[in-house]
Amino acid sequence: MTAETVAFAGVAVVLLASSLAVVLTPNLFHAVLALALALVATGAVFLLLDAPFLFGVQLLLYAGGVVTIVVFAIMLTERLVGESIRQTSRYIVNGALLSAAVFVGVASFLVQAPAGGPRPAWPGDLTVALGRALVGAYAVPLELLAVLLVLALLGALYFARSEG
């Protein structure tokens, strides 16, 4: 086993275990913490795929930003009224069956697909290439994304504003 195989297996185990914790743990707050771990593990998968810049973005935006927002939302909707933050699930058998069916469907495609070769060598620094592409060929989508973010934040503020 190469070091890459060992690293992939470790990251995969952490990612799958924390993902299961997100959907199974009864305590909503613990689910958010497990989600943070799953997001960091996803970032580690990006590292294994030679994309350290995406790892940084994943940590900053997902593990930093999204988790913080979700924790705020939980505090605002659960703690203030003194309810417990335990949650229950429903339709567990149906949900498990449907999820397993989706996975089997995808996996049956995967086993039929031709096995690709090893990953090709990447010419040059990937982060440099990403930066050049973002201000070059993808400059217009990048600006549109900035507009979308501003609109989303304005919309969130509008929804969450206090009356009067």
Partner: protein, 99 residues
């Protein structure tokens, strides 16, 4: 590791996230499941981009991540508004539009 290993991992995470979306009662819990599914898609995009030596997949991942953050901000704002109006975030109780 071959490409199929990454794709299988992503498919597993996607299925787990789908299970969360289908079974959670709490609206915030449903949003967490959606986050997992979006993450699985990101793994697919980066894996394909790396194994085909094509930058477009990674650029697309950056856009997905940013759009997801916007989605979470708006989604949670809606959850908070629903909580203010109905005093609950249980998806089963939000049946105002049921015919």
């Amino acid at each position: 590791m071959p490409l199929i290993a990454y794709l299988t991992l992503a498919a597993l995470v996607f299925a787990i996230g789908l299970f969360g979306v289908l079974t959670r009662r709490n609206a915030v819990g449903i949003l967490l499941g959606i986050e997992l599914m979006l993450n699985a898609v990101n793994i697919n995009l980066v894996a394909f981009a790396r194994f085909h030596a094509d930058l477009a997949g990674m650029i697309f991942t950056l856009f997905t991540i940013a759009i997801t953050v916007a989605e979470v901000a708006v989604g949670l704002a809606i959850v908070i508004v629903i909580f203010r109006v109905r005093r609950t975030v249980e998806a089963d109780h939000l049946d105002l539009l049921r015919g």
